[in-house]
Structures are given as C-alpha cells and as structure tokens.
C-alpha cells in the first residue's frame, strides 16, 4: 500500500512537470497552429542560465533564468513570423531546424560534457509522512504545477487578453475581423509559454542537475507526444495529455519487472499508438474529428 502511494506521488510530480511543458506547447499551438519543437531549448537555456549563475544569490539566479527564457521565447516569436502562412509540415520541420541550431550553439558554447546546476539542493531532502518518504521537490513540483496551471486557466478565463487568446484559438480569421491583434496575442502566448517553461526548468534541475545541450529536447519529445495524445485542439486536453504521459512513464518504470525495464519506451509508445488508434483526435476530447490535415 505504502509502495503504491509512493509510486503515485512520484508519478503525479513527474506528470506535473510534463503538464507545464505541455501547456506551453499547447498555448502556442492554440494561437498559431505551430508545433514548437524548439520549446525544449527554452528549458535548456533556462537550465544553462541557472548553471552559470550558481555562485550568485538564489533570487538573482532565478530571475536570470526567467529573463533568459522569456527573451529566447520572444526571439522565437519573431523568427517564426514568416511561417504564419506556411504549410504545417514546413512549420514543424522549421521549428525542428531551430531546435537543431540552438542545440548546436549550446554544444559550441558549453561543450558536450554537461554542467551542474546547484539551485535549491535542499529540496532534495526527504520528508517522512507516516511510512512514506517523499522528497521536498516532489511536493513542490505538485504544488507549483497545480498553482501555475490553475493561474493560467484563470488568466485565460477571466482577463481580456485571455479572452482574445481563446478567440484566436477557436478561429484566427474571425478573431482578427473582430479586432483581435494576432501579433499581440501570439507574443503573449510565447511569454506565457516561457514562464511555464522556466518554472518547469527550476523544478526539473533539482532532480536532474546535469545540463547537456539536449537537456530540454529529451523532455519536450514525450511532452509533445503527450500533447497530441491528449488532444491538441484544446488547451485542457493538451495539458492533461502531458500530465498523462509523465504519470504513465513514472508508473511503468515501477510496474515493469526489472529485466523488462529496458523496454519501458516500447511499452509507453505502444500505449501511445493504441490510444491514438482508439481516439485519433485526442484522449481527452469529446468528438472524433474527421480527416484533418497536417
């Protein structure tokens, strides 16, 4: 029983981090129909920012991380501007090329060996609740994840810019005709995505402190898969999809027998295929869309 609970808590924590990443991807996709592969490099950049400011006071380090991630995200917004009329395939491959480029830059600047992030090491200490031993970072991940997801949802539901974003996500043409400035809305989506990514970075570096050029890429791939499995068309389903894939990966890691653990990816992605076949437009969406185009 304790074991089950322990596994569940860890799985929820990992799921929360993936949900933050997934929501960022979903926000940008919503207003721009763009799947941003380079979202992972926001996390990589944030992690390097933390690593390079290790010696500075915590608050300065955190603020640098957020500033760097937001700046990079705004740069991506500008870079992607010519893509707004491109086909989905070109969009997808271009964001991959940007991701490839940023990883190459990181490799050139910081080398392949990796750097250590030492932010908030005290969060790695464990706290005992009854028979459970839970690390602080697990609890903080769940709390911060829940808070940020809630805050973003509130922002979308209650503010003017949130309304405009929802309108654009539903139908860009009509929203523009009604006076929504597409550029403003897209820029805002990139900033929000950056804030979520930077928060995920801080939480993640506590658990995985070694930052390499492919740090964020490795995280964004499953998150992206989760987004599509959950359902891209709505932010809630995309976020839930991200949560689900993190949760499932953590649970599978515990449930699989020791000698079968190397096949974790096979099990996880077989599940992905099965879910996609059963519900092509998303696990957490209501309708089955007919032929859609990529």
């Amino acid at each position: 029983m304790t074991n089950v609970l322990q596994t569940l808590i860890d799985a929820v924590a990992l799921g929360s981090i993936y949900a933050l990443v997934a929501m960022g991807i979903g926000l940008v996709f919503g207003v721009m129909r763009l799947v941003n592969f380079a979202h992972g490099e926001l996390i990589t950049a944030g992690a390097y920012a933390l690593a390079l400011t290790n010696h500075l006071p915590l608050l300065v380090s955190l603020m640098t991380c957020f500033a760097v991630v937001i700046a990079l995200s705004l740069a991506m917004d500008v870079t992607y501007r010519p893509l707004r009329t491109a086909t989905p395939t070109t969009m997808l491959v271009t964001t991959f090329a940007i991701s490839f480029l940023l990883q190459a830059v990181a490799l050139l600047a910081f080398g392949a060996r990796g750097q250590n992030v030492g932010v908030l090491p005290e969060l790695n200490r464990a706290v005992s609740i009854g028979d459970l031993r839970v690390r602080w970072v697990t609890l903080v991940s769940i709390a911060v994840g829940g808070f940020l997801l809630g805050a973003t949802a509130l922002l979308l539901a209650r503010t003017n810019i949130g309304l405009q974003m929802r309108a654009s996500a539903m139908n860009v043409q009509t929203a523009r005709l009604l006076g929504v400035r597409a550029s403003t809305v897209i820029r805002f989506a990139f900033v929000l995505a950056a804030v979520l990514a930077a928060s995920a970075t801080v939480l993640l570096t506590v658990q995985r402190p070694l930052v390499t050029p492919s740090y964020g890429f490795q995280l964004v791939i499953p998150a992206l898969v989760g987004v599509v499995v959950g359902g891209m068309d709505r932010l809630v389903s995309a976020t839930l999809g991200g949560f689900a894939i993190g949760f499932t990966a953590a649970v599978l890691g515990e449930v699989l027998p020791a000698d079968g653990r190397v096949f974790l990816d096979t099990a996880l992605f077989l599940l992905v295929i099965l879910v996609l076949l059963a519900r092509p437009s998303g696990l957490f969406t209501r309708s089955r869309a007919a032929w859609e185009r990529l």
Binding site: T85, L92, A97, Q103, A104, L108, V225, D265, I273
Partner: protein, 334 residues
Amino acid sequence: MRRLAAGSQLLAPVLLLALVGVLGSFTSRSVQFQFRFALVMATIVIALYVFIGNSGVVSFGHVSFVAVGAFAAGLTTVPEALKLSLSPDLFPLIAGAEVGNAVSLLLAAAVGGVFALIVGAPLMRLSGLSAGIATFAVLVITNNVLRNWEAIGPGARTLSLVPESTGFLQATVGAIAVAALAFAYQRSRFGRVLRASSDDAAAAQGAGINIYRQRLLAFALSGALAGFAGGLLVHLLGSITTQQVYLDLAFVTLAMLVIGGVRSLWGAVVGALLVSGVNSLLLTAESGLGLGFAELTVPTGTRLVTLGVVMALILLFRPRGITGGREVTLRWPG
C-alpha cells in the same frame, strides 16, 4: 509527345544523381566517401518522398525501415562465427544466414516493405498530427527493441566488418533505381489517386477512392525503398549502431525533403544533395579548405551551427522548398 515530355521529368533527377556519382569518382579518397554518402542520403530521402510527397502525411517513422533494412543487410553478410561472438543469443536462423551483396540488398528491401505493411495496416487510418506522432512512436519502439533484444541483432554494440560494397557504382545505380521506381509510382494510377486525395480528401472519397488503401500501398512501397536504402547505408559504412539510424537521421532526412520541396521527386533529390553538399563542404572547411588563392578554415564545432542556420533560413524564406515542389521538364532547344 506529351507523354514524352512528362517522362522527361525523370531525366533531371537521374542526370543530377549520375553527375554526382561521376564527379565524385574523380575526387580524392576521403572526399569520395562524402559523395557516396550524399547519394545514399538522397536514396533515403526519395524513399521518404514516395510516402510524404504523395500522401501529404508526415512520417517520422521511415528511419525505422532504414534501420531494419540496414541490420538485415548487415547481419546476413557478416560471417556466422563473428556474429555469434558479438551476440551469442542470436536466433540460429539469423546467425546461420549468409548471402551475397545483391541478395542482402533485396532482403533489406523486403524486410523494410513487410515491416511497413504490418505497421501501416493499423496506422494508415490516422491522419494529420496523430499520424505523425504514431509513426514517431514506431521509430522509438523499433530503436528500443533493436537496441535491447539481442536475439535479433547486436543490441547496443556496433555491428562491424560488414563488406563495404557500396562503391560509386552501387550508390549511383541504387539511387537512380529508387528514383525511377518513385517516378513510376507517382505517374501510375495509384500515385495520381493518392495525390488527388491529399489535395482534397472529401472530393477523393466522393469519387470512390479508398484513401486508406492507397496510403497503405504508398507506405509499404516507401518502406521497401527505405529498407533498400538502409542496405546501401550499411554496406557504405561497414559498421552500424542503432543510434546511427535514429532521431538525428529521421529529422535530417525530413528536413532535406522539406528544404528541397516535399511535393516533387526533383525536390527530394535537390534537397538531399544540397544539404549533404553543404555539410561536406563545412566538414572539409574545418580541416582547411583550399580555394586556390586563399585557404578557408572554419573553427571546429561551427559546422553544426552553420548547417542549422542554412537549413533554418531556407525553410523560413522558401517555405515551399527550393524547387517549390515542382518537377523540371527538360526541353530540346527550339
């Protein structure tokens, strides 16, 4: 006369591939490898084009067919004793199999095609991003299984001592043969029907086209061609690991296709050769590139950055690809 003009659209890609093959064989030994590698990359990209270009559906999964083709061709041309010392748990059937170069290439094509058919049967019901992610899942699973199941291959170790039979003749003829097959398919009834269905799915279905069946056919054909290309690759490199036929290759080949222009065979060939060419040039420049009057040396490590910048710029400013997705028709003057 019109048929002749249409057939001549195959001429440009074939001539370009042949040119690369002939030019390359006159260069120095180290550069020769780059030329042959470019031809094999072009073969992979053409295979990718057969499905993506005609169906309009993105597939990240084709490199898994390249992978199984490469390991099939590699494992059947390495001596049995060597295979068993590398991987003692190998199935006797695989350990005992030993065939010649040509048979191994055909085997690679067969394995790739059958695998694509099995995988495609459920997956081709999907479209859009769901299809993209599902094929990506196939890539991850294929890699995970190849890397960890030592009864079917060397696992995480390197499969080495594969005969290096992909010389200029094999690379050039292989690439041209695949281009010709791709062209024949695209001009055939099946290719036209699939293209029509990607232009307007609803209208195609209204005209009685079974999109699922057409996509599956294209998927299996391009899987077979990708498997064949994998065979060429392993016979070029002489050794292979599962990581060489995984994410990096999948994304680079997809980028090559889009950079050239997804909708045409000409685009596939141009994109693959151009990106390979830029990459080789930068590779050479890192060790000093003699320009006759001056020597250009690029600092080590900047190759990937430059390559990334070039790819991103082309994609951003020529979103339909360099060729705009059109074929070229060569005409006699006058």
